[in-house]
Every structure is written in structure tokens, then in C-alpha cells.
């Protein structure tokens, strides 16, 4: 990430938009603080008492929301981190000592232990290619394992009855209320800023389409692991506070059932919103406490029914639905996200080494005994636009896949500017200079056009954790597509409202915004009108001519291939059968035979348009 870009975007942040966001959060935070100060004087002791517990649990629920609601990691195990914090408090105060120093030590130990466990869980669960279910399996195992560890701890952990009666601070109830409330308000405000920042959009992108994120150079696994670690730490702080206040730690605090309850609170309140889970947790927890005496089973039954109804019918949760209803009642439109200002990115000087941009040597791919690619070898020079043609099933897309993900090929070597691709995952391949566009437009339906474009800049620019940048810098080629296809006027529109052609154009602009040196395009013009196709053809040829990029294009439309290519490779049944200039290949007898099969009409060399 370049330092210059950092200072520049900071200077630009002097503009009104991010500050407005911060101001809004501060205003709401101040209101919450005012409520917090007054509340203990208005409410009765019992309510304050149960509210304190609910406030600590709400902070924990927020961590579940960030992981599950925003990032799409269904975690059953957030209770484990809560339990670690709680046991750090109970164990240190019971066995080692009590006092300000010990309290700080216990808290630090709890946070560190939780973060270490978070790191282990993240490393286990978030490897490249892991299924989303595997994270759920690991986070389900975690609280079960921890609970058994507590059981096995004998007198040290208090086994199944836990620890109680250890020395703690017997402050007035108001003081505990203010501590718990201040902690929750702080966590909530930080969470709001975080999820609305540029980094917060990355989380949503991971939830919507994790694979595409990897092909935009976003290190998905590392981000998820870090998130797990930080959320674990926050969970430990709430557990510590909870234990220090209640003066009891029990195995239930670390258990799988609390983990599932957190999911219920977040789902009912509204996953993927910040305030929903907070209010959901507090409301359900306080009501539970009131009804646990009179109607314990019926209340839990109602929660179960509400949970199923919400998951089936209102997956966004109750609070967002209420908000929608309220807006309809007041006839207010939801506030549009402000569009950032487009600017050309400073062009980066590409090292002009002697090495060829792309060398493919003997690449093979088989699935069991099925050989999809065999002995594929070719070179691509700078400023070449190489088209890959061949009938369906020839292995073109498989070849593209082998060039953009080091794990894909079964044999052979891919060398990019002298560097071996090895077994690197797609996000590392992007760092080598590869940009891949998928056959079907694969973008994020719920993000805006500007947000999608910014995602492609992750590798090149610093992403703020607490604000949305008002500037969007794009390289010239991407800017050209954005302005020529009318996307520039639609930056604040959610992608699902775009036409098919605009989606394809946005997808291509995202690939070019990566500033790749080798562009892999899988049928970029499929389903486009003739004008759209010609525009894209023009942009591609000028990229190759002016910026000397190497473009590898999979294409069926031989007309289009003839117009823009500098060289053509013909593939058939997993092998390269021809490699030559446009004239040599397009008019060759072999190509006609392959395309039409012998004895049929000649291939549509000039007739598909």
C-alpha cells in the first residue's frame, strides 16, 4: 500500500461526508450516554440488576452480528470467548489475588487467551477453499470442548458448579450499570463506524461472494481470522465484566447453548444491522428475567416460535422491518449512500524487465482419469492480445482457471514475469498481476457500483477501518469503461438494479481497477449488444496498445476475435492444436472442421454477428 495514497485520501477526507458520519455516531452516542446516566435513578433495583447483565451480553451479541450478520460466518462459539473472559476473572480472583493490579492482569490474561483461541479457531476454520459450513463445525466444537475442559478442571475451575463468592468490587449498582453501559455504547459506536467504513464493505462483500473477493486480491482468510481474534477479545471483555459483576462463573457461560441463544437474539433483532442485535438482546434478556418466574417454558416456546418465523419469513429480523414500516408511515425514503468523487489513479510504473509476462509450460489438469488439459505450453508477450478459441469443452475456461489459481492445475508450470505461480491462492495471483473476469458477471448484488469498484482497489490502497472515503481513484482504463457505459452517473445505485450489459461492464471495470498486467477474460462480450461489444473491443485494443498489457481472451465470436486479436490459439479436446496469427488461424481448414465437425457447413467465421 503506498504511503502517498494514504496522505492524499486523508487530505481529501477533510470533505464533509465521513465527518458527518462520525458526527452522527457521536450525537447518538451522546444521547445514549445521557440515557445511561439517568436510567439507574428512574428504574427499580431489580431492573437495573438484570439490565447490567443484558448490557454485557449485548456487547457479546454484537460480535456475533459482525461475524455472522456482516461477514456470513455462522458461529455457534462466541460464548466460548465470553466464558474465557469470565473464567479469567473467577480463577484469578479466587486463586491468585484481588486488587486493581490483579484485576488488570486478569482482564489482560482473559483477552490474550481469548485472542489466542480465536487465532487457533480462525486458522482451523478459514483456510483457502474451506466450506462455510466448516467454520460452523469448528465453532460448534469450541464451546463443547471448553465446557468439558471446565468440567475436567476439578476444584481449580469448580467443575460443574463453577466458582462463586470470590472477592470482587462491590460497587453500587449504578456504578456497575454505568460501566456496563459505557462499554456497550463504546463497542456499539465503534461497530457502527467500522461496518460503514470501506473495510466494513469488504465484510459484506465476503458474505455475498467470497470467491470473487479472492479474485479481487482480497486476503479473505486473513481478514476472517483477524476478525475472529478481535471479536474473541471483545467477547472476553464482556465475559470478564459479567463475571466481576455477578460474582459467579459457571460452565454455562462458555457453553454451546449460550452460543445458540446469541444467534437467536441477533436474528430476532436484525442480523447485519448494529442496533438491532443490541436492542434485541436487551429486550429479550430483560423480558426473560421477568417471565422466568411465572412463565418460563411458555416464554422460551414463544422465543422458539418467533425465531423460526423470523428465519423463514423475515430473515432480516424484526427491527429492520419495524424501521421499514415506520419510514413508510412517515413517507420517508431511506437515505441514499453518497457517491464518492471519481479521480484518476496515479499510474504505477510497471517494472519493464526482460522476463515474459506469462509463460505456460506443460500445464495439465485432470479430474480422476478424465484429462481436461494436456501439455499446454505457450508464451504471451507484452502488448499481445491473445484469443483462445475452440468448441465448448475444449478446456478454455479450465486453462484460465489454472492461470488464476495456483491450486487448480495438476501438473506443469505457470511463470509470471519470471516468478513461479506455485500453489498460490487467487488473492496472491492477483498480487502477481493477474486479473480474471468470470464468464457470468459475478458481482455483489447488494453493494453499490462505487463500493464494488473500490473493492478492486483493496490491494493498492489503504482501507479505512472507521470511515468511507469520499474519493474513488481508478486507473484510466477502468475510468473509461465507467464513464462510457453510464456507470459514472449510477455510482450510488445498488448493482442488482443494473442491466445485464452494465453488470458486465462493471465486472470488467473492476478487473481493470486491479491494475493487472495480465488480463484473463472469459467471454467478456457474452450477451452484449453489438454496440456494447464494439466499445469493449475498443477499450481492450487501446489497453494493449497504450499500456502494453497482455490480454488473454476466451471467445466464441470469431468475428470479434478477428477484429481485435494479435494472435490466436485454438484448443480442442484439452490440447493446443494451432497457435498463430489471426489470418493463419481463422481461415484455416482445421478450425472449420473443429467448429463444424467434418462434413458440415463451414464455421461461422463471418456470420455470427
Amino acid at each position: 500500500m503506498s504511503g502517498e495514497a494514504m496522505t492524499e485520501s486523508k487530505a481529501a477526507a477533510g470533505g464533509a461526508k465521513p465527518r458527518a458520519e462520525l458526527g452522527r455516531v457521536l450525537r447518538w452516542g451522546a444521547l445514549a450516554v445521557a440515557l445511561l446516566i439517568v436510567a439507574p435513578f428512574v428504574l427499580d433495583t431489580y431492573t437495573v440488576n438484570i439490565l447490567i447483565r443484558a448490557l454485557f451480553l449485548a456487547a457479546l451479541a454484537l460480535t456475533v452480528d459482525i461475524l455472522w450478520g456482516y461477514t456470513g460466518v455462522l458461529t455457534f462459539g462466541q460464548s466460548a470467548f465470553f466464558g474465557i473472559g469470565a473464567y479469567a476473572c473467577g480463577l484469578v480472583f479466587t486463586h491468585y489475588g484481588f486488587g486493581p493490579g490483579w484485576a488488570v492482569l486478569a482482564l489482560a490474561a482473559g483477552i490474550l487467551a481469548a485472542m489466542a483461541v480465536g487465532l487457533l479457531v480462525g486458522w482451523l476454520a478459514f483456510y483457502h477453499g474451506a466450506s462455510p459450513l466448516y467454520a460452523s463445525i469448528v465453532t460448534l466444537a469450541l464451546p463443547i470442548v471448553l465446557t468439558q475442559v471446565v468440567f475436567a478442571g476439578g476444584r481449580f475451575t469448580g467443575s460443574s458448579s463453577g466458582l462463586s463468592g470470590f472477592p470482587t468490587y462491590y460497587w453500587d449498582l449504578e456504578v456497575w450499570f454505568w460501566i456496563a453501559g459505557a462499554f456497550l455504547i463504546l463497542v456499539t459506536c465503534l461497530a457502527v463506524l467500522f461496518v460503514r467504513s470501506d473495510m466494513g464493505r469488504v465484510l459484506v462483500a465476503i458474505r455475498e461472494n467470497e470467491m470473487r473477493c479472492a479474485y479481487l486480491g482480497i486476503p479473505v482468510s486473513r481478514i476472517k481470522i483477524l476478525l475472529m481474534v478481535v471479536m474473541g477479545g471483545i467477547g472476553a471483555v464482556s465475559g470478564f465484566g459479567y463475571a466481576a459483576f455477578t460474582n459467579v462463573v459457571a460452565p454455562e457461560l462458555t457453553g454451546f447453548l449460550l452460543g445458540t441463544e446469541l444467534l437467536i437474539w441477533v436474528a430476532l433483532g436484525g442480523r447485519g444491522t448494529i442496533i438491532g442485535p443490541v436492542i434485541g438482546t436487551i429486550a429479550i434478556d430483560v423480558t426473560s428475567s421477568y417471565l422466568s418466574g411465572s412463565l418460563p417454558f411458555v416464554w422460551k416456546l414463544l422465543i422458539g416460535i418467533a425465531f423460526v418465523l423470523v428465519i423463514v419469513a423475515l430473515p432480516q429480523g424484526l427491527l429492520p422491518e419495524l424501521g421499514k414500516g415506520l419510514r413508510r408511515l412517515l413517507r420517508r425514503q431511506p437515505a441514499a449512500k453518497p457517491a464518492p468523487e471519481l479521480r484518476p489513479a496515479r499510474s504505477r510504473v510497471v517494472a519493464a524487465g526482460a522476463a515474459a509476462p506469462l509463460v505456460v509450460e506443460g500445464v495439465a489438469r485432470h479430474f480422476g482419469s478424465l484429462r481436461v488439459l494436456q501439455d499446454i505450453s505457450f508464451k504471451v508477450g507484452r502488448g499481445e492480445l491473445l484469443s483462445l478459441v475452440g468448441p465448448n469443452g475444449a478446456g478454455k475456461t479450465t486453462l484460465i482457471r489454472c492461470l488464476a489459481d495456483g491450486m487448480e492445475r495438476s501438473g506443469g508450470r505457470v511463470v509470471i514475469f519470471g516468478k513461479d505461480l506455485g500453489r498460490w491462492p487467487p488473492d496472491r495471483c492477483v498480487a502477481l498481476g493477474i486479473g480474471r473476469k468470470f464468464q457470468a458477471a459475478s458481482i455483489y448484488e447488494t453493494l453499490t457500483v462505487a463500493e464494488c469498484l473500490r473493492l478492486a482497489r483493496y490491494r493498492l490502497e489503504p482501507f479505512s477501518l472507521w470511515q468511507a472515503s469520499p474519493i474513488l481513484e481508478l486507473p484510466e482504463a477502468a475510468l473509461r469503461i465507467v464513464s462510457e457505459t453510464g456507470l459514472a452517473e449510477r455510482l450510488d445505485i445498488e448493482v442488482r438494479h443494473l442491466s445485464h450489459g452494465q453488470k458486465q461492464a462493471l465486472d470488467l471495470a473492476m478487473v481493470l481497477a486491479l491494475e493487472p498486467t495480465i488480463v484473463l477474460l472469459d467471454e467478456p462480450t457474452a450477451g452484449l449488444t453489438k454496440t456494447e461489444r464494439e466499445r469493449i473491443g475498443g477499450i481492450l485494443t487501446s489497453l494493449v496498445e497504450r499500456e502494453r498489457l497482455s490480454v488473454l481472451l476466451v471467445e466464441h465470436d470469431l468475428d470479434f476475435v478477428r477484429q481485435i486479436s494479435s494472435r490466436v490459439i485454438v484448443m480442442h479436446q484439452g490440447r493446443i492444436v494451432l497457435d498463430g496469427s489471426v489470418a493463419e488461424v481463422v481461415d484455416s481448414e482445421l478450425v472449420r472442421e473443429i467448429y463444424a465437425g467434418s462434413g458440415h457447413e463451414p464455421a461461422p467465421a463471418g456470420g455470427t454477428a
Binding site: L133, V138, G304, I311
Partner: protein
């Protein structure tokens, strides 16, 4: 030593029997039924009702099957059907269903532990040892269930349709297979199997509203580690169930309770597709 082997084999048989209902639903519907534990509990209470009504303990098993089947069909229609495209949400909705069933049972029968009449009690001489007749019988039951499911999948019209849906649901639909019906039948079958398993384990565990919970987690882990296949589930039940017995016997029962969960999670890290 022989006792250990018998313990391993009978434990594996019990785990296999308990997990099949979850597996058949995951295999055909690609859906994880977290209400599986609640269906086990329902089976346990079906056996309890049979005891209270004074029926033969053997009658508890068909009774549990019918209750499970009917409930499974209703649940598929009402809750599961809208969630086909949202697999993670289906886990949550079926978990919520489990809460509902658990609370209804609590309200109906109370939280206390219930007594159920076992079909057979006592021990038999086997390989020169005196061993629980009922546990040995469960090995036979597991073999019958495994063979029955294999037969159902490979020698019936339903099995052919189900296998078509497993391999490629869109194509199966294109060939005129009513995949909605296959799904409905599968969920009913899975729920009935779970309920029967719940009735079968009642002589070994106490019947209370949370009967199914520990079995749910172990079944879930075993089914995923098995690679969702009948022989795979047999192998995994033997391996991980065996490890559980060995650790419980020689190390500690508390750590033994973790063996399946931890080993399955590690197996899946090394082989994400399971051992099958």
C-alpha cells in the same frame, strides 16, 4: 479386552443408528436438520407413552416411527421448504424447531426424568462373557437399518429418484422426477428414523426433554466426517465411537465425551469431503 471390543462394536452400532436419520436428509436434501435431536427426544417420549399406556415395549418402535413420520412431513411442508436456497438458515430454523419441540414436551410432560420399560433386559453369555442383551440386539438393529437403507436406495423406485436428486437435482427435475415429493418423503423418512432411534436408546439413557441434544452434536460430526454415505458412516462410527470408548475407559469419561467432536473436526480439516 473382549469387553472393550464388544463395547466398541455396540457403541458404534448405537451411533450409527442415531445418525442415519440426519444423514439421509443431508444426503438427499443437502440440508442439516438441527431438529434431529428433538426428533430423537420425540422417539424417547413415544416409548414413554407406550410404557404409560401399558403397551408391549416392542410396540413403542412402530409407534415412534409413525409419530416421527407424520411430524417430519408437516415440518418439511411448513418450515423446511422455504429454506432450500438458504442452507445456513435451514440449520437455524430447524434448531428453533428443536427449541419449540423441547418446550412443548416440557410443558406436556414436565422436566423430570421418565422411566421407560425396556423390550429386553438382562445379559447373555457371548464369547465367554456376560454382556447386555439389549446392546447386542442394537448391533443387529444397526445392520438391519443399514441394509434396509441401502436396499431402499438401490432397489426401489424411490431410491432411484432419490439418487437422481442427490446427483443433480435440476437434471432430475428436467427428467420429470418430482423432486419436491422426493424431498418431502426424505424428510419424513429421516424424522421417522430419528424417532425410532430415540425409542431404541431409551433403555440406555434417561428420558427427559433434553435427551437428544448430546446425540445431535455427535451425529452431526459423524455424518459430516463420513462423507455422507452409509458405509462411510459405519466406518466412522466404528473408528470414532471406538476412540470414544477407549479414551473413556483409559483416560477419563469427560475427555471421552470430546473424542468424536474433536476427531471429526480434525478429519474434516484434513479431508473436507469426509472419509467416504
Amino acid at each position: 479386552m473382549s469387553v472393550l471390543i464388544l463395547d466398541i462394536v455396540t457403541t458404534a452400532a448405537i451411533l450409527f443408528t442415531v445418525a442415519t436419520g440426519l444423514m439421509i436428509i443431508l444426503g438427499v436434501m443437502k440440508l442439516i436438520n438441527f431438529a434431529h435431536g428433538a426428533f430423537l427426544t420425540i422417539g424417547g417420549y413415544a416409548a414413554y407413552i407406550a410404557t404409560v399406556a401399558g403397551w408391549s415395549p416392542w410396540a413403542a418402535i412402530p409407534f415412534a416411527a409413525v409419530v416421527g413420520l407424520v411430524l417430519g412431513l408437516v415440518v418439511e411442508y411448513v418450515i423446511v421448504r422455504p429454506l432450500y436456497a438458504r442452507p445456513l438458515d435451514a440449520i437455524l430454523a430447524t434448531w428453533g424447531l428443536g427449541i419449540i419441540i423441547g418446550q412443548l414436551i416440557t410443558i406436556g410432560f414436565g422436566r423430570e426424568v421418565q422411566f421407560v420399560e425396556p423390550p429386553i433386559s438382562g445379559a447373555v453369555e457371548f464369547l465367554g462373557l456376560s454382556y447386555s442383551t439389549y446392546r447386542l440386539l442394537l448391533v443387529l438393529v444397526a445392520v438391519v437399518i443399514g441394509a434396509g437403507l441401502t436396499g431402499l436406495l438401490y432397489f426401489t423406485r424411490f431410491g432411484l429418484n432419490a439418487r437422481a436428486v442427490i446427483m443433480n437435482e435440476d437434471l432430475a427435475r428436467g427428467l420429470g422426477i418430482d423432486s419436491t415429493k422426493v424431498r418431502l418423503a426424505t424428510f419424513g423418512l429421516g424424522a421417522a428414523l430419528a424417532s425410532v432411534a430415540g425409542a431404541l436408546i431409551t433403555p440406555l439413557v434417561s428420558v427427559d426433554p433434553n435427551l437428544g441434544l448430546p446425540w445431535l452434536v455427535n451425529s452431526f460430526m459423524l455424518v459430516l466426517a463420513s462423507g455422507v454415505s452409509i458405509p462411510g458412516l459405519m466406518i466412522v462410527s466404528l473408528l470414532l465411537g471406538g476412540a470414544q470408548v477407549v479414551v473413556s475407559t483409559y483416560v477419563s469419561p469427560i475427555i471421552g465425551g470430546l473424542t468424536i467432536v474433536v476427531l471429526a473436526a480434525l478429519i474434516l480439516r484434513l479431508r473436507p469431503q469426509g472419509i467416504g
